[in-house]
């Protein structure tokens, strides 16, 4: 397998002019300006192989979008090396963008006041897609994304979910080898989210398209990606398997037990009681010190159990803990 993306010590710094408040401040701004350096991306290293599906996570302002804009050739890095699909993106912007696809959830690439199909037809010319290829792809996406009933509606009249589906179709008609998705499910309801996830998964599996997904919605990542990269304040905090993230930082698993009757002392070795409401008791236990089955064994030997459930810590919690407690801050 070969690298689709390789970033070495990638940096993007912006200079912000600080505006002093008030009238006096405004006058002073005319004469001297205060500058502030924003290190939006500050020395990031990673490799993504062909066919991978990688989740890119981080809180607002962490540097996700800036990274994405460099990968798509929109921004010129301040320093560092970047090769995407064998090219330096910004240096050969036009060739580069011809072989990638991108969906920025908060924006549309379609013409606002024209029917969807007209925009798609124009894309056929812009990307020089052979007619039969275009027809075949369009037919497939029409079925998978259920575009038929709004293909002739102007984009401004579409619902958010419909617009997103149309944008996904637009980003894939030219068979890109690499797809960037920036918040593709933002603002969508559960059903619409699920439909889009299914489609994205299908594209990754069936077409082998390499996908880099940034999102706030952790369930997107849980359902789609094996590998995640976490960025905060311009630096990569974690790059690895989602499962490992759990194991390293997942903290405690939970065992929720519904007893047959109310017991006075429900204490058991290897776990802590964190909540007790009537017959329902919640235990926390650490991964590695005791397994769920051991714990259940110990409990069932002493108590009558009506029902029980093992809960994995969710990724959202894990990641929040990483941000808040800075678990991954390197020295």
């Amino acid at each position: 397998m070969s690298d689709m993306i390789s970033a070495t010590d990638l940096k993007k710094h912006f200079v912000l002019h600080r505006h002093r408040p008030g009238f006096i401040g405004a006058v002073r701004n005319l004469i001297t300006r205060e500058h502030r350096l924003i290190r939006a991306v500050d020395g990031v290293n990673f490799h993504i192989e062909c066919g991978e599906f990688v989740g890119y996570l981080g809180p607002n302002g962490a540097g996700k979008s800036t990274t994405l804009k460099m990968l798509t050739g929109l921004l010129v890095p301040t320093s560092g090396e970047l090769l995407v699909n064998g090219r330096v993106p910004w240096r050969e912007r036009q060739v580069h963008v011809g072989e990638i696809g991108a969906v920025f959830g908060q924006r549309t690439t379609l013409w606002w006041d024209l029917p969807v199909i007209d925009s798609l037809e124009l894309l056929r010319h812009i990307y020089h897609i052979p007619a039969d290829r275009f027809r075949k792809n369009l037919q497939e996406f029409r079925d998978l994304l259920e575009l038929d009933h709004f293909l002739h509606t102007p984009v401004r009249a579409l619902s958010l979910g419909e617009r997103m589906r149309a944008d996904l179709c637009a980003a894939l008609l030219h068979d890109p080898r690499l797809l960037f998705l920036d918040e593709p499910t933002i603002g969508l309801d559960v059903v619409a989210k699920e439909r889009i996830r299914q489609f994205i998964r299908h594209i990754n599996l069936e077409r082998g398209t390499t996908i880099l997904l940034t999102t706030h919605d952790i369930s997107d990542v849980e359902k789609l990606c094996k590998r995640v990269m976490i960025i905060d304040r311009g630096r990569l905090l974690y790059d690895g398997l989602l499962d490992k993230l759990h194991q390293r930082f997942g903290g405690n698993r939970q065992l929720v037990v519904d007893f047959g009757e109310i017991y006075e002392d429900v204490h058991v070795d290897g776990a802590q009681v964190t909540e007790q409401v009537g017959t329902r008791v919640t235990y926390h236990f650490e991964r590695g010190t005791v397994t769920a089955s051991e714990l259940i064994g110990r409990l069932s030997s002493r108590f009558r159990i009506r029902d029980l459930e093992v809960r994995e810590p969710d990724v959202e919690d894990t990641i929040r803990r990483i941000y808040e407690e800075q678990l991954l801050v390197r020295g």
Binding site: L74, L75, W90, V97, L114, S119
Partner: protein
């Protein structure tokens, strides 16, 4: 080339959806044209010819200048600027197409619709009210076609250049208004350049602005000798080349320092 045409076709389609705006613009342009004609007629008084222009030519001039307002976006054009500020520029830069051609195509579509629906219509309305000068020779019509295309290219490249200032300043509207205001005076839109003193005409001729309007007017009215027509077309062509090259160089510098607004 075919891609440019496809973009232009979509832009035309889009322009055609603004029916009410087109009608309103048409009526406004016509009304102000009549006013301007009345002022010029008063200016001529009893004289039959001023600065080589007959009264009939002067009236035709007001019609012509009103007719070009829409297709040259003469009252200002801020679309590129707006797309830089809104961050929409990102969608355009994500397409494998030159950013200049992307807008050139759109402006071509917009210009063609406005040339037909507003330009030709105004001349038609004028012809109902006034006795207009009309080119007589086939060669004059040919030169007119060439100068119309060239004037649009000069105008577009200039407008595009002005809009590129958005890459350097967070609010370029003021720059835009100044630049487009300058165009009004120096292009011969407010008054035929012939009416101005010699030194002022010379000054104007150092700029691309007469190539947008004055050249079109003079070729239509037939006040130029045939070698002057060729010369005027060559000057227009030269300005197209200069402005297009400048636009590309500045665009490249601009995109390298681009900051895409918004998430």
């Amino acid at each position: 080339m075919s891609l440019l045409w496809e973009v232009a076709k979509l832009a035309m389609q889009r322009q055609l959806t603004y029916r009410a705006a087109t009608l309103a613009g048409l009526l406004t342009n016509f009304f102000f044209g009549l006013l301007r004609a009345a002022v010029l007629v008063a200016l001529f008084g009893t004289s039959q010819e001023v600065a080589g222009l007959t009264i009939q030519g002067a009236i035709t001039y007001t019609g012509l200048t009103q007719a070009v307002i829409a297709y040259l976006s003469f009252f200002g054009w801020f679309e590129v600027m707006d797309s830089v500020y809104s961050g929409e520029i990102a969608s355009a830069l994500l397409k494998p197409m030159s950013y200049f051609s992307f807008w050139l195509g759109q402006d071509l579509g917009r210009a063609l619709v406005n040339f037909t629906l507003r330009g030709l219509t105004i001349m038609g309305l004028y012809a109902l009210v006034f006795d207009l000068t009309v080119p007589t020779h086939f060669s004059q019509w040919l030169a007119l076609l060439a100068t119309l295309i060239l004037s649009w290219l000069v105008s577009f490249s200039w407008r595009f250049l002005v809009n590129l200032s958005a890459f350097w300043t967070p609010n370029a509207r003021g720059i835009g208004r100044f630049a487009f205001g300058l165009t009004w005076v120096l292009s011969g839109f407010l008054m035929p350049l012939r009416f101005f003193p010699e030194w002022f005409i010379k000054l104007c001729n150092l700029t691309p602005f007469p190539s947008m309007i004055n050249t079109v007017v003079e070729i239509y009215l037939g006040v130029l000798e045939s070698h002057e027509v060729i010369q005027a077309l060559l000057v227009q062509g030269l300005w197209v080349v200069i402005l297009v090259v400048a636009a590309h160089l500045i665009l490249r510098a601009g995109t390298h320092r681009l900051v895409i607004q918004g998430g």
